[in-house]
Symmetry: C2
Subunit: 405 residues, 2 copies
DNA sequence: GTAATATGTTTGTCGTACCAACAAATCATC
DNA sequence: GATGATTTGTTGGTACGACAAACATATTAC
């Protein structure tokens, strides 16, 4: 019993995960069905009935409501079979989110529709020391330019993929050293510039998100993702079907896993971090490729027979294997996906890296894990950033306010 | 659209996390309220109304149903204040689970009531090479003996905390090297011996569970737990309020984190594992304590001024710090709890170990993490094991069949 | 004692999903 | 082409859960 006037601890309050009132029940079912459509693409009403095990009539009513809300379009089926044809429910392509991804040399902006389709994209080069407010201004202008080409599309918000640590909740960039940003309220700035509700998160986690919803991690409930880029190594995890964000959104820093005693000192202040030991720049240099030809890294490493290259690749693989071993021991994932230059490293290792990488994990966890390369290419960050926006829409379709482009 | 006859992938099927039908809605609310009572202890109906933000009448109806099902008892309040007195809803103490914890030298058995109260416990010594079936037989006999003293109690199942890797789902012990067990279907064996629905899990994860539900991790949504024992170092995590089990239940093996290049070789096959570098036996030896006096380890380490002891403690703390750094970087927890001999090590370190341990994590994750000692002592495993059973009861109170002791 | 307050209880209403019966649109067969 | 089988959308009725409002009740404060 708490005294009547004592504030009741927040953590005690039951989260509204599941509907308690009948009205939340409906919201839940709207959410379920729209989420299925978003992730799986077009599904017939009959499919939805099977997948949700809701009643035919309920699915019909919900599909009608979603169509009325403008989130889906019902169209006659293209392929027929026995029985009355079931209308196919398509994600509405005019339901869009703005996705922004600032990088060291350019800002990438995209318009992503429900279903994860990138409708438009563009990149604007920026100087090496561009301020956050400058980048926000450029991105906002670019977003408006792209949206001007897409009349009648409803923008539900914006998502920003930041190469650095971002506080969940308010989208404050705590630190993005490669951008030279510290404590920049980037989400709030973009929201002020555009009026779109804006969310921001770490780029690696968003890349993971794209891969988890639409790519190699689709349908995988326990999933570890590691991505290597010019600015270091990041990652993200899914546990029990839920994205691991951590208390404030900083989870997934697998690049700072300890992998070598008396290793190099890392800018984070520690020693022996994976990303201080294994870098994209060194691998590129090894095969004499400029940064722009990053796509060639995998084949080049694989093709090289120089002993120095082979030894360096083997050493890097061993270091990455330590980080993977730790992650597999800690998470027991069923799939580990490598992206970016780590995927290239995997390709460049002559041996079967997918077997080597988890080889030192404990037996039980290792025997059922699959190590794969990422399926997504360039659009992963835009799609992941848009997911930040769609998560809100999918979670409560009927209650979501919209702004029209 | 999937062809009508094609099997629809399991992972597509929407999980029944939230009620879709009105009847699941009621189950959800029953579950919510019973879970609150279980975790927080007795709460008045008025408190429940505030905590769940359900309607007064609804809470009354649900409390009445739970009372009718025998899961709670409503009693008049002991302390009064203005207004009509609100009945206090207590967890029913005759709703119990059997908890079993086999260790190298003894089997511990307990009877745990709803609310996490250990009503009875006992330990039976076993030989060094006791087989799984032998241990199960002893535990089953002991459970029946304990239950005979508790007439009228309803047993809802049994939970087994195994010092080793246990497959979630069927409770198969994959490997418990210190017990000498490999591929033993311990849960199934105990279920066959007693008739109680039986679940098994890794002991460290269950210790974490107890600490998470009732101890230092109560109400913490992002939580890392590390426990050191005679047989090594284990752990468990909570992410976003959910226990991290991994794909098959093997998550949490933080004892096999890489902490030293060219370190000792571990029985797991890898090198440089934390639990191969930092052991309870060595610390005990350092201060000349027999294993039985493990409770004295912390004070003894703290009291010792011998340089060798101080150096060894500092070295061990540094190694543990590496594992904690990795975990904090990966999870961004708000609390890290150390238990067992690691808590003693923390106590024995003269310096402020709670500051040293996460010191090398990345700034954003480190600044908001709290490192604490475990609050629970001996009963943690029994309580954690019982949680395996109560999880089912709490999840669906009305639908749960019971067997009477 | 009386008022104020907080909370349990009762009754009626509303919303949601289900079920069953019917209608519609296709395929398979002749 | 007609007919039957099959599958699925549609409609109307029902059940049930939660809510709101009015009322009842038990305490504190004065």
């Amino acid at each position: 019993m708490c005294p009547a006037d004592s504030p009741i601890a927040d953590h005690l309050a039951v989260r509204p995960t599941s509907g308690s009132t009948t009205d939340q029940l409906r919201r839940n079912n709207l959410s379920k069905i729209l989420t299925l459509i978003h992730r799986e693409g077009a599904l017939s009403r009959a499919d939805l009935t099977r997948l949700t095990s809701l009643n035919r009539s309920t699915v019909g009513a919900i599909a009608a409501e979603l169509a009325a809300l403008g989130f889906v379009d019902e169209r006659p089926p293209l392929d027929f079979r026995a029985g009355r044809p079931s209308p196919v429910v398509h994600p509405n392509e005019r339901t869009v989110a703005v996705a922004v991804n600032p990088e060291v040399d350019a800002v990438h902006v995209g318009i992503v529709a429900l279903g994860g389709v990138v409708l438009a994209r563009s990149s604007v080069g920026i100087g090496p020391e561009a301020s956050a407010s400058e980048v926000v201004r450029i991105a906002a202008a670019e977003a408006h330019a792209l949206l001007a080409e897409l009349p009648g599309h409803r923008v539900f918000g914006a998502g920003i993929a930041v190469p650095g640590q971002v506080r969940i909740g308010d989208g404050q960039v705590r630190e993005a050293s490669h951008m030279g940003w510290f404590e920049e309220p980037v989400a709030a700035m973009f929201e002020a510039a555009t009026g779109f509700p804006t969310f921001a998160a770490n780029a690696a986690i968003l890349a993971m998100r794209a891969e988890s919803v639409f790519g190699a991690g689709k349908g995988v409930d326990n999933f570890v993702y590691v991505i290597g880029g010019a600015s270091g190594i990041g990652g993200g995890m899914v546990s029990g079907g839920k994205i691991v964000t951590g208390a404030a959104g900083y989870a997934g820093e697998i690049g700072h896993t300890f992998v070598r005693s008396s290793g190099a000192s890392c800018f984070c202040g520690a020693h022996g971090c994976l990303e201080a030991e294994v870098t994209q720049a060194r691998l590129l240099q090894l095969v004499n490729l400029p940064p722009s030809q990053i796509a060639e890294l995998g084949p080049a490493l694989a093709a090289s027979t120089e002993p120095a290259v082979r030894a360096a690749v083997a050493e890097d693989v061993a270091l990455v294997a330590i980080a993977i071993r730790n992650a597999v021991n800690l998470f027991n994932p069923s799939v580990v996906v490598l992206a970016g230059f780590l995927a290239a490293l995997m390709e460049g290792s002559g041996d079967d890296a997918s077997a080597i990488l988890p080889a030192e994990a404990v037996l039980a966890a290792r025997e059922s894990v699959r190590v794969e390369r990422a399926r997504f290419g360039a659009d992963q960050l835009l799609i992941g950033a848009a997911e930040l926006v769609f998560a809100g829409v999918l979670g409560d379709p009927s209650g979501y306010a919209s702004s029209r482009a």
